[in-house]
């Protein structure tokens, strides 16, 4: 007789039960929805909800239901046409204080939502939305680090009373990457001592002495691992900042992920209003608080271009020149909170500094009562300009004084910034809150995908997939009879498991993902075919039915394992190295192989053992 351990049955049942629950939300499907949020990210009051409902009815928009989800109003609608109509109507009347986004609302019952279950998010190609790809300036991250080291080295050498000619950066000729610093020394300097000091000041450096035509020099190079570490840090930090900003926008199910070595892609399903989003997401903004310099004449400096030592020339928003002191009292990085409010002085950003910056601010305001202080806003961006018909990009940094006011009283870590329009103040508060980028990021690619096309795509694709699967089920049942039916059950279980895994991971399903599903179905069928062909072979050789089943599973195992594992390796490598569509494919393939190995080997064996494993030996198998 055939035996199969009881714990395996229990395991299979438990896994299937959990998987069924996890894929329920996806099975329930989603409705088109309109998401409405206030511009200043405050919760929508229920009075406004009632107003909007009434207004939508007046405009003859048919909607299923409205509800508040974390202060955001969701309007569920029966179809795309009504969704677009609702959006156009709401934008006509409410565009002043509210932003809308086309979205989806899951149709599942309330208790599932409370359990935190979610349907599989659909990729942008299937549901529409905004796609943005940012390039992170990782070279800049290394340069920043080296600039800090340069200061340290100069200081250390000055303290040790050692002379130096210059400190320059070393560029790797092959990768054009900045990899270290070169300290060139005047003749007669104690090179070994300099070398020891450089090594001590920057422990990360690999230090060496070189002789150049111009004289002796000490070189410090960052090991490749350190460079990589620094770049990774910069990307991680930028990812966090981007995520914070996306969350501030209140978009449903956003995807922010690293892509390749130095890129970050952001997918905002349902968002079509690209201008506003791009403005907030990509902005590289810094804030600096500096004291005015009252000794120099800003207008003269603006004409001659020579700012006195210790000062720097800035311009206000109106284009007025202004001389500020070089030392910075506090920067935007040292903020703990920033909120937008409206006071009698107009739109205001309420700022709270951290302890250290607060102390500095306290000292500065104590010492400089009735002295003006300026708030400098610095923004970097990459511009595309056309020179002689050629498109080139250049980096631009705008620095402007957004506020210049006399210090009326002593303050430390809590104060207000005024002097902006409501929109500027709102964006500034958001940017300050979400943190700044470690290094600048620049958009490489951006496009919006229409949702109507996505809807049509997915419906046709899913229909075709269902018909194809039905064909496979029928064919298997005809070709392998009872065993074919077992294979069908197992295939179904595989699709359930895969759906569950995908919705648990929240990995968005896109067109290449569907390719992965088809390949997975093929592999799952293949595993069953391998087993059944083996059983048939054993039967042909005159082996008894039960022994054939056992031999079939055992002998087919190595073929199934090797073929699946090879595909698994391919999937993992593509997952790690691939980007965009290749990765989407690889994710589904890798997960699908795992589930199909489980269902084909364990599930189908369990079922067949149940059917043929009893003490009464079957005379023949329906295979």
């Amino acid at each position: 007789m055939l035996e199969y351990a009881r714990w395996k049955y229990i395991l299979i049942c438990a896994v299937l039960a959990i998987a069924l629950l996890l894929c329920m939300p996806t099975l329930f499907g989603q409705d088109e929805a309109l998401q409405i949020a206030t511009r200043d990210r405050t919760a929508i009051p229920s009075a406004v909800q009632a107003d909007m409902e009434k207004y939508l009815r007046e405009k003859a928009v048919t909607f299923t239901k409205t509800y508040l989800d974390n202060g955001v109003l969701m309007v569920r609608l029966p179809n795309v046409a009504e969704q677009l109509k609702a959006r156009d109507s709401i934008e006509d009347k409410y565009s002043q204080g509210y932003v809308t986004a086309l979205s989806f609302a899951p149709r599942m019952p309330e208790w599932m939502r409370k359990l935190g279950l979610r349907p599989i998010p659909l990729g942008l190609d299937l549901r529409g939305g905004l796609y943005l790809l940012y390039q992170v300036d990782v070279q800049g991250a290394v340069k920043q680090l080296l600039e800090g080291y340069e200061q340290d080295i100069r200081r250390a050498l000055t303290t040790a009373k050692l002379p130096l000619n210059d400190v320059t950066t070393i560029t790797d000729p092959q990768t054009a990457q900045t990899v270290g610093l070169r300290v060139s020394l005047p003749a007669g300097t104690d090179v070994d001592q300099v070398r020891a000091i450089v090594a001590k000041t920057v422990p990360d450096f690999t230090v060496s002495t070189v002789t150049l035509p111009s004289g002796q020099a000490v070189e410090g190079r960052l090991p490749q691992a350190k460079i990589r570490e620094r770049q990774d840090y910069a990307i991680q930090q930028n990812l966090t900042t981007l995520r914070n900003r996306v969350n501030e926008l209140g978009v449903a199910e956003p995807i922010v992920q690293r892509q390749g070595l130095d890129r970050i892609n952001v997918q905002l399903p349902g968002v079509q209003n690209s201008a506003e989003v791009k403005d907030v997401l990509g902005k590289v903004a810094k804030l600096e608080f500096r004291l005015d310099d009252l000794n120099g004449n800003a207008y003269e400096v603006a004409q001659h271009g020579h700012a006195p030592i210790g000062t720097k020339l800035y311009y206000t928003k109106d284009g007025q020149p202004l001389l500020l002191r070089r030392e910075v009292i506090a920067t935007g990085d040292e903020l703990t909170t920033a909120n937008f409010t409206t006071t009698q002085d107009g739109p205001t950003v309420n700022v709270r500094l951290d302890q250290r910056a607060g102390d500095r601010m306290l000292k500065a305001t104590q010492a400089n009562l009735n002295h003006p202080m300026a708030v400098v806003y610095i923004e970097s961006r990459r511009e595309t300009v056309t020179v002689n018909g050629q498109k080139t990009t250049r980096d631009v940094t705008d620095q402007k004084v957004i506020n210049n006011a006399t210090i009326r009283g002593v303050f430390s870590n809590n104060f207000m910034i005024t002097g902006m329009t409501a929109g500027e103040a709102r964006d500034l508060a958001l940017l300050l809150r979400s943190g700044s980028f470690a290094v600048p990021i620049y958009p490489v690619e951006e496009h919006a995908v229409g949702p109507s096309l996505g809807k049509e795509n997915i419906e046709k694709g899913v229909d075709a997939l269902e018909i194809g699967m039905a064909g496979v089920f029928l064919f298997m049942a005809i070709y392998y009879r009872i065993f074919g039916l077992v294979a069908d059950v197992v295939l179904l279980a595989n699709v359930v498991l895969l759906t569950a895994l995908l919705s648990m991971l929240g990995a968005a399903l896109s067109l290449p993902g569907i390719a992965g599903i088809i390949l997975t179905v093929g592999m799952a069928v293949d595993a069953n075919v391998l087993i059944y062909e083996r059983i048939r072979e054993e039967l042909r050789n005159g082996v008894s039915p039960q022994a054939s089943i056992r031999a079939g599973f055992e002998k087919a195992f190595s073929a199934i394992f090797d073929s699946n594992f090879t595909a698994f390796i391919a999937g993992v490598v593509l997952w790690i190295l691939g980007s965009g569509p290749i990765r989407g494919f690889a994710v589904v393939l890798t997960l699908g192989i795992a589930t199909s190995m489980f269902t084909s080997l364990m599930g189908s064996r369990a079922l067949i053992t149940l059917m043929y494993g009893g003490r009464r030996k079957p005379a023949r198998l329906l295979i």
Binding site: A81, L84, K85, R87, D88, K391, V444, H447, A448, V449, G450, P451, S452, L453, N457, K460, G461, A464, L465, G468, M469, G471, V472, F475, M476, Y479, L511, P512, G516, I518, L519, V521, G522, M523, V525, D526, V529, L530, E533, E537, F557, S558, A559, F561, D562, S563, F565, T566, A567, I569, A570, V573, L574, L577, S579, P581, I582, G584, F585, L589
Partner: protein, 312 residues
């Protein structure tokens, strides 16, 4: 029901010169086509011009597309964008002397004929830079994948001869798919890239199953001639190879005929790849290993060695 009621006995190894010849001719033809005609790269790769327009009423996307083609813009992509009144239009590059203002004037004429009060946004010419980068990253990812597979097969089967057979058979299929796409000038977009990856997966799967049988046959019959063992292995797995392909083809054919225009290129690539993959697994992979001098000694260097796992 069974495709082969009796055990088949095709002499695959004896006729391998013929199959090499066929494959070589097809591969050369593919390369020639790729070199002379190239691929008809979709907008995903080429970039092009994009523009957004807002109509006063819900726009008829199909109508706009037809009018654009009539004006001489080949293969335009017209989509609703946000609302039924907003339309996004993407045009492939218009040849080397692509001129933004000329395109814009022509576009304006077309769109104004649909709706005189249409508001046309700024015309952006998108460069193919990202497409090129994806190509490099895809090639790297594929190379690394093939290398990993090569190593895995060496570890599992103890010989580079089978690895070489597998890699050649696997390379064979995407080349043919690309060749057909180049010859028929079917639009090559990102979905097709995914399909080509799936094709590689299928072909590999088949090849490894045959190799597994080869290992098993060598294990029980060390004295038989390698060519005979390989023939037996392929024949014994033939029923399974064809069965699996038929099943997958059912899904792919459904996608091809019912999946709509977006999935057409994708399913065509899969179908061509499945046929090519089945052929290469049967006719090429084991034959290459034989010509590399594969014998039982390579897989089982010592006489007593348990190579087949006994796991559940």
């Amino acid at each position: 029901m069974e495709f082969f009621h009796k055990a088949t006995n095709f002499p695959f190894m004896a006729t391998r010169k013929v199959s090499y010849g066929i494959s070589l001719v097809l591969i050369i033809a593919s390369f020639v086509s790729l070199a002379t005609r190239g691929l008809n790269l979709g907008l995903d790769f080429t970039g092009g011009a994009t523009v957004q327009a807002t109509f006063t009423q819900a726009a008829n996307v199909e109508d706009i597309r037809a009018k654009l083609i009539a004006t001489g813009f080949p293969d335009p992509q017209v989509q609703n964008f946000g609302s039924s009144r907003n339309v996004s239009i993407r045009l492939p590059p218009q040849g080397p002397q692509q001129n933004g203002t000329v395109i814009r004037t022509q576009l304006e004429n077309v769109l104004k004929s649909v709706d005189p009060a249409v508001v046309i946004g700024e015309l952006d010419v998108v460069g193919p830079q990202v497409g090129g980068e994806l190509r490099t990253s895809a090639i790297w990812a594929l190379t690394a994948t093939l290398l990993a597979i090569f190593i895995y097969i060496v570890i599992r089967f103890h010989t580079w001869r089978l690895s070489s057979g597998a890699i050649l058979a696997v390379l064979h299929d995407p080349i043919l798919v690309l060749g057909v796409f180049s010859f028929t000038q079917t639009s090559f977009d990102l979905a097709v890239v995914a399909a080509v990856l799936a094709v590689v997966g299928y072909s590999l799967n088949d090849t490894v199953v045959i190799f597994d049988r080869i290992r098993e046959r060598f294990h029980s019959n060390r004295r038989l001639a390698p060519a005979l063992i390989l023939d037996q292995s392929i024949n014994q797995t033939l029923s399974r190879t064809i069965m699996t392909k038929v099943v997958t083809a059912i899904v792919v054919v459904a996608l091809l005929f019912l999946g709509g225009p977006v999935l057409r290129g994708f399913s065509e690539a899969l179908l061509i790849g499945i046929v090519a993959g089945t052929y290469s697994s049967i006719y090429i992979s084991a034959a290459v290993a034989l010509d590399c001098g594969l014998t039982a000694e390579h897989i089982f260097p010592t006489v007593k060695k348990e190579a087949i796992d006994h796991m559940p």
